[in-house]
């Protein structure tokens, strides 16, 4: 056998496909974590946290923010009232939308988009002075969509919401994720662009997979 063959053999012995597979199967078959031993202390911590957060809250503002729920380790989902989410929808009175081809800031080739969102459209939003406010990439099907809105300037409509939301980090990019019923709104800045990513009827996993593959 050649030296190259011998080196390959050593590498395969070290980074071994079957051995890795066996380790994964062992993890899969491990008995599920027994929650009963942590449920009581976790509940106590949650109750105390709720109490502390509520007692620190200032007078209610018109946007009705609720407590942020920490999920999935590092990811924080800020719950907002459905009225707030509805207010954020659609264009303001001094905006107009035109379907146009746009130059996307980054290639979408390796970005995760849910398979069923087959329809892709791109738009430009203009203000009353006919200047470009922002761009929109929309993926949709009948009752689900993913909107990627981006511009060099921050979108002022979301500034209050963004100020009050708690941050998460996706691959070192700071994001603020808001949720209401069947919608997610994610606000972030990444490589010179400001983003607002809106989804309808996407699961949290799908949103996170998209964010992790986009903000790399």
């Amino acid at each position: 056998m050649t030296n190259k063959g011998k080196l390959k053999q050593s590498i395969e012995k070290d980074i071994n496909k079957i051995e890795n597979y066996n380790q994964i199967i062992e993890k899969i078959n491990k008995p599920a974590f027994n929650w009963k031993y942590v449920l009581v202390p976790v509940c106590l911590i949650l109750i105390v946290s709720l109490f502390i957060l509520n007692s620190n809250k200032s007078a209610k503002n018109s946007l009705n923010y609720n407590m942020a729920t920490k999920l999935d380790g590092e990811i924080i989902i800020n719950e907002i009232a459905s009225s707030t989410a509805s207010e954020m929808e659609g264009l303001t009175s001094n905006e107009k939308l035109e379907e146009q081809e746009i130059i996307e800031p980054f290639s979408m080739n390796n970005v995760y988009i849910p398979e069923d969102l087959k329809t892709k459209k791109t738009y430009v939003v203009y203000n009353n002075d006919n200047k470009i406010s922002y761009y929109v990439i929309n993926y949709s099907n009948n009752n689900r969509y993913l909107n990627i809105t981006y511009s060099k300037e921050k979108y002022s409509k979301y500034s209050s919401m963004e100020k009050n939301g708690e941050s998460s980090f996706i691959n070192d990019t700071e994001v603020k994720i808001f949720a209401s019923n069947n919608k997610f709104i994610t606000i972030s800045s990444y490589k010179d662009y400001n983003y607002v990513i809106e989804t309808l009827n996407l699961e949290q996993d799908e949103l996170l997979m998209f964010l992790r593959s986009y903000f790399i």
Partner: protein, 179 residues
């Protein structure tokens, strides 16, 4: 125990994607000694997602690479990531061409004292400059060209050649007859 249907789908995906995912992890990891752990974490995460929802084949690669990016970032503390931006002498990208090893070396021409390639691979993996084992893995294990390795590691090709040939010389001196 894992349900048979999901396990069969998982096995299919694992076999289909293992090599590409491994290559991606080798390129992106900070230390090649972590590759096994990271690969296990990636596919365990895939298993968890597979149990929650259907995954189609067309976006499988980007889906897995999304998980890979997340797991790699999570695997390393901020301190480790800062350290990986190397200012040490082993990282010699951009050194003048005249200082490069003049002649290329063929690995098959090395005369190794003991046929101990397991030790040689361990030696390579312990290098301070982790580009070295990455280059050896990509060049000899994955049969990637030097030009493509340079592009994947985001370095110039002379750097790749220098590390490869210099290390081959070093292996000859350390493990070869008379070494």
């Amino acid at each position: 125990m894992a349900s048979n249907l999901n396990l069969s789908k998982f096995n299919e995906i694992y076999n289909q994607t293992y090599l590409d995912t491994l290559k991606y992890v080798v390129i992106k990891c900070h230390n090649i000694n972590d590759v096994n752990d990271i690969m296990q974490e990636i596919y365990f995460e895939l298993w968890k997602i597979l149990n929650k929802k259907e995954i189609t084949d067309t976006n499988l690669k980007s889906f897995l690479w999304g998980i890979a990016n997340y797991k790699i970032k999570k695997h390393y503390s901020l301190l480790q990531r800062i350290k990986a931006i190397s200012l040490e002498e082993e990282n010699m990208e951009g050194i003048p061409l005249k200082d490069m090893v003049a002649s290329s070396v063929n690995i098959n021409d090395l005369v190794i004292k003991k046929d101990d390639w397991d030790n040689i691979w361990s030696y390579l993996k312990k290098k301070k400059n982790q580009d070295i084992p990455k280059i050896f893995y990509l060049y000899y294990q994955s049969d990637v060209s030097l030009k493509e390795i340079a592009s994947l590691l985001n370095v110039n090709i002379s750097y790749v050649k220098h590390l490869l040939y210099r290390t081959l010389h070093e292996l000859q001196e350390t493990f070869g007859k008379g070494g």
